[in-house]
Structure formats: structure tokens, C-alpha cells
């Protein structure tokens, strides 16, 4: 289970990076990055997973006393929550930039935005 999730996550990262490195369209690059960050999130959560345990919520099913032996690691989940929100922020920013670039240059092709170099 963990291996499947983690592998999937890493594969998503690689696919995302591949897309980001080979698509010259800016929007497609951004799409690829969202896939890669989804992959990262999957990896993060899978690291915290422990087989046979439940979500880290102390309700009637999981009394406080037995929490240590019955819940999974809550920390990666907390981290992923943060990572997702930050990912959205960065995506939004990149999109805004993409639009602005398009307005200036009338193109979405990143290989044409090379006036700064050397």
C-alpha cells in the first residue's frame, strides 16, 4: 500500500518534471508542475501512513488513551496541508505571470522569452 502510493507519487513527480522540461508552452509547464506537486503530496502522505491504523482524530472510535497505538503519524498530513495551499499560491502566481507575459510578448512559448541572457 505504502509502496504503491509512494511509487505513484514519485512517478507523478517525474512525469510532472518531464512535462515541465519538455513543454515549451508556459501554461503546460504550469500544469506539469501542479502534477509534480500532487506527486510530492502523495509521497509525503504515504511516508506518514502506517498499515492498520486510523486517521489521527480522537473520536469515540479512538479514545485518547489508546491513540498512541491506533493512529497514524499526523505530522506529514499537517505538512501536506500546508504544502497544498502553498502550491496553490505558487500556481496562481505563475498563472498571473503567464498572463502578464502573454500580454507583453504575445506568446506563451518560453523558448521565445530569452531577451535576458549571458
Amino acid at each position: 500500500m505504502i509502496t504503491i502510493a509512494m511509487t505513484t507519487g514519485f512517478v507523478l513527480i517525474l512525469i510532472g518534471l518531464y512535462g515541465a522540461l519538455t513543454n515549451t508552452n508556459i501554461l503546460r509547464m504550469i500544469v506539469s508542475f501542479t502534477i509534480a506537486s500532487t506527486g510530492v503530496n502523495v509521497v509525503l502522505v504515504s511516508v506518514g501512513y502506517m498499515p492498520g491504523r486510523t486517521a489521527p482524530i480522537l473520536d469515540d472510535a479512538v479514545p485518547v488513551g489508546s491513540a498512541t497505538t491506533s493512529i497514524i503519524d499526523p505530522i506529514p498530513q499537517a505538512l501536506v496541508l500546508t504544502a497544498i495551499v502553498i502550491g496553490l499560491g505558487v500556481t496562481a502566481l505563475m498563472l498571473a505571470y503567464a498572463y502578464r507575459l502573454f500580454r507583453i510578448r504575445q506568446t506563451l512559448d518560453i523558448s521565445k522569452i530569452v531577451e535576458l541572457k549571458w
Binding site: A20, L21, V90, Y97, S111, W118
Partner: protein, 1041 residues
């Protein structure tokens, strides 16, 4: 003391509060922003003060009221407080600088700025790795926002590239964080340290983590995105990006590296050095000022990373060294970016406009000196300590690479300074926004203050409390006074300094002291000739003399080296003042700094540790290291004396300098190198490397310098160049004498020290005076000036008689001692060379009289008057001195002779009355004077008798009889005077040395040109670079697991 968390609270609170203000009420918004930044700065600085003085202890700040690692904690120690101060102050000043842009874009951009500074502070404060990630993302995003402040539309592209790359970095970082967490069971950085990363996969996780953090430092070659930002962003923001972001990112990398254990440090060292060298080389080809600053930023951060890689051996000095470099870089880079913001065009030559505002030039020079680590700035102390630690631990290779990089960096930075000072400046003085200029001055002052603090912290003397340096710097404050008043003060300062210090001089110091101080003062008499304010002359001149003054009294290697750098930098600025001296001044500086680095390395090797080393203790250096110390120090000193091979800077630098500067740099400054050689040979004596007696090598170098220097001089058409080349030869003699390592040799070297000062100053002044009147230095444009400039003629005549070593003047004394000396040495071949060069000197010296003063007067020179009074006055003093010294050489040499006698057992000279006796014969100056005088008088009378019918003939001017010739020199009788010799000996003059150094420079430039093609400008390619960087290091490190 206010808790440091309020830096974050205030930053965030103000940013949120800005949203409540009306969008139109921008003044209020700006005031709020500034107030918040001021509070943040104040908190940081008060912590810094308290921690530095011991009033406070490093403090952990818990959040959520729970102990770490279960809740995030922050920490303020000395390092954190220092960096926070840098970050918040940069933010504060940049905000002031960005005022217009911020006002125009409104409160949102102000909020972004506040959050950026807050985030950078958070990066420094936090001890939690994921929290670090959050602050990093805040930094990234706010960078994305602040890039928009630029008017340059290309910044949008740069910002996007940055975002692309940081996405890749974030992915690596998060993967690294989570697996590190899995291995450690904690996200707290301090817990990493407690538990070595043993678990499987932990190494790789840590590697990814580290790579992500290192990538934020813009390592070469994965840094194209950063350069694009530097080039296009608003300079006010670039200052933050370089000074504050760079600082924070370095600290983040350091924090994590510190926990990873020593096995990760070599990786950091490698990346750091590679980046430092590569970026500096790349910067060589930059014409865009901001991009150049970008390369320099990247390089400096690389340097700091390399220093971090040495933290295992730096011990408690780590903070002092890394902090010194980092703070110097932050202040200087911020300052330079701020200056670039008041300059409208982007090519380096556009900086000429600074000249219309001299204080800005001072600020510019301050920042450059800080970057390169010149005294008295923190980088200097850091460089010194670093060198000693590295050498003590056997990491000489690291040090050498650092020094090479620093030299390249100095090359492009000072080339830039040269362009700014020498290229044509616009006429109209631009109007600078007062706020911006104020910020620049504030940075410069902070730089000086940092230099003062670092000096106070160092285990050596605080350079900024050294009196000569203070006096020299004081001249910056009185630049507004008329030149003549400043001249009086300068002369007085030199005399007073001599008077204060001569009591403790030994005879050797006395001779050099007199030349440096009193000799300097005499040359200053010529400076009375200049009227107006003569901006930019006295501070560098006094800086040079301060260096010389400090050099003589230096007792420790540190003081000596500091003085050496001070005099180098002062003389560079001085030489740069010449009309066409831009390339020559640069080459002078490059050689001198290279030499200085050799000295640094030599001293570090000699010290063998980090304890201060007294110059006298050089004598105690033994073992395998001793000859290397000798070689390095000798190379360092010989760059100053322009020994052959290291000489190519001299002719241009001396010839192109101003009329009164040439004698300073030739007559006075060259002696600094000889002084060093004296000390070196006196303490270390003969050293053997691979079985070769190194003094024997020096002997050869001296002989070759004498021969080739003189040979090159005879083919010069430019009078000052001729004198310059002759200096190479003369210094060769002195070196030769020293290298003989016997009593008479040394005495002769000292004789040369005195004589060369006098006649070279004399000749440079008189030739300078003639050049001032005729408007040219080319001898074929002169002629027949004897009657128009009789005093100059007499001066030159006396000068060349002395110099060529014919009786009756003191030059002969030198020669006489010299011939005695070589009879006692046993190196035949070099001796022959030295003998040969004697007559060669005749050939060119005679031209000075023959071509300039004799022959036909040029038509356009008919109305000339003799040189100005103030230029003549010191010449006449020298003439008088030479006559006196010819009769009474004993007045100086006797005591020295005895002093040298302490070092050499063999018989010196015996001084009885006016007669000097050696084992080979005797020399009685008075007798010689009388004999020669008699012969001369007789001959003169004879000539008069023979020629009593001689009559004056009007000169018949053939030059203008017909059309003006296309090449006037070809019609002059004395042009290419020694063409036959050139045909015979020209092969000796093939500019091999020049070609050699030229090839090195070219190779560097070619490398730069080739390498920078890496930066295609394509953001995707940059992302590939980032991955390549990580993957290659992963492979190099052998597939960490």
C-alpha cells in the same frame, strides 16, 4: 529586550494592516511600512548589541508554549542577530530607496516588501526544517512580487524563470524534508545533530535537502535565473535579493550543514569554490553593470559557502570569518546596486557620471574595496584569518583557489572603476533623488563602521585606529579645501609622522623612513604647482604614504601585510589619475594584488598556525616549508620592484602618471619592495629549494632585470617611459646586490635605494616639467631646449651623471661599492650581465640630454619658459643633495654599514675621515671631485681657447621648409636613434612576458565568453541546469543512499 518573534509579528501585522488603509492614502501606507521596518531593525540591532556585549544570552523562542521538537522554535544567537540586522537594515534602506516605485504601485507592493523581509528573518530565526520551507516559499513568492517593481518589462520574464526554477527546488526540498523527518522522527534541525543520519535513505534525503538549500544560493551553473533577475529587477530590490536574500539563504544552508556532520563539508567546499571561480571568470565578459553585480553576488555567496565548508577547522573563528565576508558582501553589494539605480544607462562606462558627484565615487570605491577584502574592511580580517586557518590545516589548495578567484574579481571590479574614472564623463550633472543618495551614503558609512568593529574584534591592531591611516582618511573630509592648503597639511603630516617615529628606527628603517617620509614631502613640493582643489589626489597619495609609514614600523606579519595592501590600493588610485593610465593602473593593481596574495600565503605558511607572527620570527621558520615561504614572499616583493617577468605593469604605470606622481611611485614606492626584500633576506637568509640556492635565483633575476630593463629603455621614444624602463634595470641592480648576500652587496643595494630615489625623482620631475611645457613626452618632438630650460637641463645633467655611475657624483660611489661587491661574490655569468648593462644605461641616459636639450629647437617651442617654480624647487634640492652626498657618502652609509655588519661576518668598509677603504682599494670622494673638477675645467678652457672664433648661427629650420611631413618623427634626427642596436639585440626584447600574461588574460576571457553561452535565457534550460547540477553531484558523490 523585545522578543525577536516581534520581528515576524510586526512585519506581518503591518502587512495585514496595510490592507485596511485606503488605496489612495499612500503616504500613510509608506509611513507605516517604514515604521514597521524600523521597528524590525531596531529589535534586531538591539539583540545584536546585547549579544555582542554579553548583556544577553542566546535565546530560544518557543511557540505554542511547547518544547521543541514538538512545536516550532526560533533562536536568536549572535549569528542570527547579526544577520537579522543585515536583513532588516537592508530592507529599511531599500524601502526608503524604493519609495517612488512603492508609492506608485501602492500598498500591496509595500505589504509584499514587508513580508519579504519578515520571511527572510524567519529563515534566519527558525530551527524547524519545514518551517524553513514555508519561509522559503514566502521569500520566493515575495521575490516574484517585488520583481514587478521594475520598470523593465524583461523583469516579468526573469520572474517567471525564477518561479519555474524554485518549483523544481521546492520539489527536491519537500522530498528531502519528509525523508529526513522519517529518518529522524523530528523536524527540528537541532535534533538532526543529536542523531547521526544512519538510517537507510537518510543520507540521500539529507542530500536532497542540502541540494535544495544550496540551489537557493545560486550555484554555478544552475543560476541563470538569478542573473536575469539581477539584470532586470529594480536595483532597490536587487539590493535585497543580493544582500538580504543571499544572506538568509546562506545561513539556512549553514544551519543544515552544521547538523549534517563533517562528511558533507567537502561537498559544500567544492560547490562554493566552483561557483566562486566560475562566476568571477564569467563576470569578466560582462558589460551590463547589474548583471556584473549579479555574477559578483553569486561568486561571493559561493565564497561564503566554501568558507562554511571549512567550518570543521575554523572553530570559534568561524563566525568572525564567514560573518566578515558575508557582511562586507551584503553592505557592498547593496550599496553598489543602489548606486546602479541612480545611473541611467546600463553599460559599465555609464558610471562615469559618478565623477560629477565625488562623494559617490568614494562610496563606489568603498564598496569595491569591501568586496575584495581590502583593509580596513571586515573582509580583510576575514581573509587573513581564513588564510591562516587553511594553511594551518594543510588546505593550501583551497586557499590558493580562493585567492585566484579573488584576484579575478578584483580584476573586473577595478577595471570597472577605471572605466568610471577615466572614460569621458557627461557634462551635465544629473539630479539624483536625495533619498536614494542618502541611502547609498548610509551603506558606505555602515561599511566603515563594520570595518571598525571587525578591527576591534580582531586579535591584532585595529587598522582604523592606526594614525597614518586615520590621517589619510581625514583627507577625504578636507577634500573641499584648495589644493595648496591640503599640500601644506600633507607635507606637515609626513614630517610630523617622521618626527614622531624616527626615534625608534634602526639604521635600515631610518634610510627607508627618510625616503618614504621626508622624500615624500620633498616630492610634495612639486605639487604646489597645482591650483584649484585637485580632487582625488590627496586621499590616495596619503593612503599610499600611510601604507609606507605603517610598513616601516610593522613588527608583525599582519601589520606588514595590512600596510602593504594599504599602500597598494593608495598607489593604484594615484596612478589611475594619469590621463591615459587606465589600463596600466589596472595591470599595476593586478600584479600588486597578486603579489600581495603571494605574501599572504607566504606569511600564513610561515606562521603555520593562527598565532600572530612577528616579522623577526621569519628567521625561526625552518623545515620543508621555509623555502616556499621564501619564494612566495620574494615573488610578492618582486612584483613591487618590477623584477623581470613581473614588470609589465611598470612602464605604463610610471610613464602615464602625472608629473608629480611619477616620482612618488617610482622614487618612493618601488622602495617598499626593496624594503621587503631586505627584511626577507635578513630574516630568512639563504634558502634551498630542490637543491637550488634561492638567492642564486634572485641573483639571476636581478641581473636579467638589470640587463633587459636597460635594454628596453634604450629603444624608447617617450622620455618618461625611458625612465620607467630604466627603473626596472635599477631595481635589478639592487636586487642583484641584495642577492649577493654579502656585506658589500647589501651596502650597494642600500646605496641604490638612496640614489635611485634621488635621481629617479629628479629625472621624473624634470622630464615631467619639460613635458608640461612642451605638451609631449616624445623626445623626437623636442630638441634644443637647453637655453630655454636651463635649470631643467642642469637637473637632468646631474641626474644622469649620478645614475650612470660615472665620477664624480654619488652614482660612482654606488658603482664603486658594487664593483667591490661582485669581486667578493662567485657568480660569474650574472655578473657579466650586470656589467654589460652598465654601458647600456649610458646609451639611453645620454639621449635625455642629447635629444631633449641639444639639437634643433622646434619651431613651436620658441616661446617656452623653464619648468614651473614648484616643479623646479625639489629638483634643485635634489641637485644640492647629490652634490653633497657625492662628497660625504659616509653621512648615511656609515651607520648602515655598521648595521649590516651585524648580519655578515666578513669585512665591511672602513671609514676614515672622508676616505672609504675596502679590501680592494679606496674611494675618496673629495679627491675624486677635485681630480674630475680639474680635468673638466682644463678641458673646458681648452675648448674655449680652440673655439674662440666660434659664432652663433641661427638655426635653419628644415622641418617646415616644405609641407608638414605626415610622420613628423621620421624627419627627426634622433628618432629611432638606436636602430642598429635594435637589429642586433632586438631578439632579447621579444615581448615574451607580455605575451605570457596576455595569453593568460585572453584564456580567461575566452573561457568566460564560451561559458556564458550556457545561459541561453530560456527558463526551461535553467530548470534543466538545476537538475543537471543535482544529478551530477549525486553521481559525483557516488550515489548516496
Amino acid at each position: 529586550m523585545v522578543s525577536a518573534i516581534f520581528i515576524i509579528v510586526v512585519g506581518l501585522g503591518a502587512a495585514f494592516a496595510l490592507g485596511l488603509l485606503k488605496d489612495s492614502w499612500r503616504n500613510g501606507a509608506f509611513a507605516l511600512t517604514m515604521a514597521a521596518l524600523a521597528v524590525m531593525s531596531w529589535i534586531s540591532i538591539s539583540w545584536l548589541g546585547a549579544l555582542a556585549s554579553g548583556a544577553a544570552q542566546p535565546t530560544d523562542i518557543l511557540t505554542a508554549g511547547v518544547q521543541p521538537p514538538f512545536a516550532i522554535n526560533l533562536r536568536v544567537g549572535l549569528a542570527e542577530a547579526g544577520l537579522l540586522s543585515v536583513i532588516t537594515l537592508t530592507g529599511l534602506l531599500s524601502a526608503l530607496y524604493l519609495r517612488d516605485a512603492l508609492m506608485q504601485q501602492g500598498r500591496r507592493s509595500m505589504a509584499v516588501l514587508l513580508i519579504a523581509i519578515m520571511a527572510l528573518s524567519g529563515i534566519v530565526l527558525t530551527r524547524d526544517i519545514f518551517n524553513l520551507f514555508v519561509f522559503f516559499e514566502l521569500m520566493v513568492i515575495s521575490t516574484g512580487g517585488l520583481v514587478l517593481l521594475s520598470d523593465d518589462e524583461r523583469a516579468i520574464g526573469a520572474g517567471f524563470k525564477y518561479l519555474v526554477v524554485t518549483q523544481v527546488i521546492s520539489i527536491l526540498l519537500l522530498v528531502g524534508i519528509i525523508f529526513t523527518y522519517h529518518a529522524q522522527g523530528s523536524l527540528n534541525i537541532d535534533d538532526f545533530a543529536a542523531q547521526p543520519l544512519a538510517a537507510k535513505g537518510a543520507g540521500l534525503a539529507f542530500f536532497l535537502l542540502l541540494m535544495a538549500l544550496v540551489l537557493e544560493l545560486k550555484p554555478f551553473p544552475a543560476n541563470g535565473w538569478a542573473l536575469d533577475i539581477y539584470e532586470s529587477a529594480h536595483p532597490g530590490f536587487s539590493a535585497i535579493f543580493s544582500a538580504a536574500s543571499g544572506t538568509a539563504a546562506v545561513y539556512a544552508a549553514d544551519k543544515v550543514l552544521a547538523t549534517g556532520g563533517a562528511e558533507w563539508l567537502p561537498l559544500a567546499t567544492f560547490i562554493g569554490l566552483f561557483t566562486f571561480l566560475a562566476s568571477n571568470i564569467l563576470a569578466l565578459r560582462q558589460d551590463n553593470d547589474r548583471r556584473l553585480l549579479g555574477y559578483s553576488s553569486v561568486a561571493q555567496i559561493g565564497l561564503v559557502l566554501a568558507v562554511i565548508g571549512q567550518r570543521d577547522i575554523l572553530g570559534d573563528q568561524f563566525l568572525y570569518i564567514a560573518g566578515g565576508i558575508l557582511i562586507a558582501h551584503a553592505v557592498a553589494k547593496a550599496g553598489l546596486f543602489w548606486i546602479s539605480g541612480v545611473i541611467t544607462r546600463r553599460e559599465l562606462t555609464a558610471w562615469t557620471v559618478l565623477r560629477l558627484n565625488p562623494p559617490l565615487v568614494v562610496a563606489f570605491a568603498t564598496f569595491l574595496a569591501m568586496l575584495i577584502g581590502l583593509p580596513p574592511f571586515p573582509g580583510f580580517y576575514a581573509k587573513w584569518e581564513l588564510a591562516h586557518h587553511l594553511v594551518a590545516e594543510g588546505r593550501v589548495a583551497v586557499l590558493v583557489l580562493i585567492l585566484i578567484g579573488a584576484l579575478i574579481e578584483a580584476g573586473y571590479l577595478f577595471r570597472w572603476f577605471g572605466l568610471a574614472i577615466k572614460r569621458e564623463a557627461p557634462v551635465a550633472r544629473p539630479k539624483y533623488a536625495p533619498g536614494k543618495v542618502l541611502v547609498i551614503y548610509a551603506a558606505a558609512l555602515l561599511g566603515w563602521y563594520a570595518g571598525y568593529r571587525w578591527g576591534a574584534l580582531s586579535q591584532y591592531d585595529n587598522l582604523l585606529q592606526a594614525m597614518p591611516l586615520m590621517v589619510a582618511l581625514g583627507f577625504l573630509l578636507i577634500e573641499g579645501l584648495p589644493a595648496r592648503i591640503k599640500n601644506v597639511i600633507a607635507i606637515a603630516a609626513l614630517c610630523v609622522w617622521f618626527w614622531l617615529s624616527y626615534g625608534s628606527f634602526d639604521p635600515l628603517q631610518m634610510i627607508f623612513g627618510v625616503i618614504f617620509m621626508i622624500g615624500g614631502a620633498v616630492i610634495f613640493l612639486a605639487s604646489f604647482h597645482e591650483t584649484g582643489r585637485r580632487l582625488g589626489f590627496y586621499p590616495p597619495a596619503m593612503l599610499m604614504y600611510a601604507g609606507l609609514a605603517m610598513l616601516i614600523v610593522a613588527e608583525s606579519s599582519f601589520a606588514f601585510f595590512a600596510a602593504w595592501e594599504v599602500l597598494t590600493i593608495g598607489s593604484y588610485f594615484l596612478i589611475l589619475r594619469g590621463k591615459k593610465s587606465e589600463p596600466h593602473a589596472l595591470s599595476y593593481l593586478m600584479f600588486s594584488l597578486g603579489g600581495a596574495f603571494a605574501i599572504l600565503l607566504g606569511f600564513a605558511l610561515a606562521a603555520g598556525g593562527t598565532a600572530p607572527l612577528a616579522i623577526a620570527d621569519l628567521a625561526q621558520v625552518t623545515g620543508a616549508v621555509a623555502p616556499w615561504v621564501f619564494v612566495l614572499l620574494a615573488i610578492g616583493f618582486m612584483t613591487k620592484t618590477a623584477a623581470i617577468g613581473l614588470h609589465i605593469w611598470l612602464p605604463g604605470a610610471h610613464a602615464e602618471a602625472e608629473a608629480d606622481v611619477s616620482p612618488m611611485v617610482s622614487g618612493v614606492l618601488l622602495k617598499a619592495g626593496l624594503y621587503g626584500m631586505f627584511l626577507l633576506l635578513m630574516t630568512m637568509g639563504r634558502q634551498h629549494l630542490f637543491g637550488v640556492d634561492l638567492t642564486y635565483v634572485l641573483l639571476w633575476i636581478g641581473a636579467l632585470s638589470a640587463l633587459l630593463g636597460n635594454l628596453m629603455a634604450i629603444f624608447q621614444e617617450d622620455a618618461k617611459r625611458l625612465l620607467a624602463y630604466s627603473s626596472i634595470g635599477q631595481m635589478g641592480y639592487a636586487l642583484f646586490g641584495l642577492a649577493m648576500m654579502n656585506h658589500l652587496g647589501w651596502l650597494m643595494a642600500l646605496m641604490f635605494v638612496i640614489n635611485h630615489y634621488v635621481y629617479k625623482s629628479l629625472l621624473f620631475l624634470s622630464v615631467g616639467g619639460v613635458a608640461k611645457r612642451t605638451g609631449t613626452r616624445d623626445m623626437y618632438r623636442m630638441g634644443g631646449l637647453i637655453k630655454l630650460m636651463p635649470l631643467s637641463f642642469i637637473a637632468v645633467l646631474i641626474g644622469i651623471i649620478t645614475m650612470s655611475g660615472v665620477p664624480p657624483l654619488s652614482g660612482f660611489g654606488g658603482r664603486w661599492i658594487f664593483y667591490n661587491a661582485i669581486m667578493t661574490a662567485d657568480a660569474r655569468l650574472p655578473m657579466v650581465l650586470v656589467f654589460l648593462s652598465g654601458p647600456i644605461a649610458f646609451l639611453y641616459l645620454f639621449r635625455l640630454i642629447h635629444t631633449i636639450f641639444l639639437g634643433q629647437l622646434k619651431d613651436e617651442h620658441r616661446q617656452l619658459k623653464d619648468a614651473p617654480f614648484w616643479i623646479l624647487l625639489p629638483q634643485m634640492i635634489y641637485v644640492a643633495f647629490l652634490l653633497g652626498f657625492a662628497v660625504l657618502p659616509g653621512m648615511a652609509l656609515r651607520r648602515v654599514d655598521a648595521y649590516i655588519g651585524e648580519h655578515f661576518t666578513e669585512q665591511g668598509l672602513s671609514w676614515e675621515g672622508l676616505t672609504i677603504t675596502s679590501e680592494f682599494g679606496y674611494w675618496s670622494p673629495v679627491q675624486i671631485m677635485i681630480v674630475i673638477g680639474t680635468i673638466f675645467t682644463l678641458l673646458f678652457l681648452l675648448l674655449l681657447a680652440l673655439n674662440h672664433k666660434a659664432q652663433w648661427v641661427k638655426q635653419f629650420n628644415i622641418v617646415y621648409a616644405a609641407e608638414r611631413p605626415f610622420r613628423p618623427e621620421t624627419t627627426h634626427f634622433a628618432w629611432n636613434f638606436f636602430a642598429p642596436y635594435r637589429r642586433a639585440l632586438g631578439f632579447l626584447l621579444a615581448p615574451l612576458v607580455t605575451r605570457f600574461w596576455g595569453a593568460i588574460t585572453n584564456a580567461l576571457h575566452e573561457t568566460a565568453e564560451f561559458t556564458r553561452k550556457l545561459y541561453t535565457g530560456n527558463g526551461q534550460t535553467y530548470a534543466v541546469h538545476v537538475l543537471v547540477f543535482v544529478v551530477v553531484l549525486y553521481l559525483v558523490a557516488g550515489g548516496i543512499s
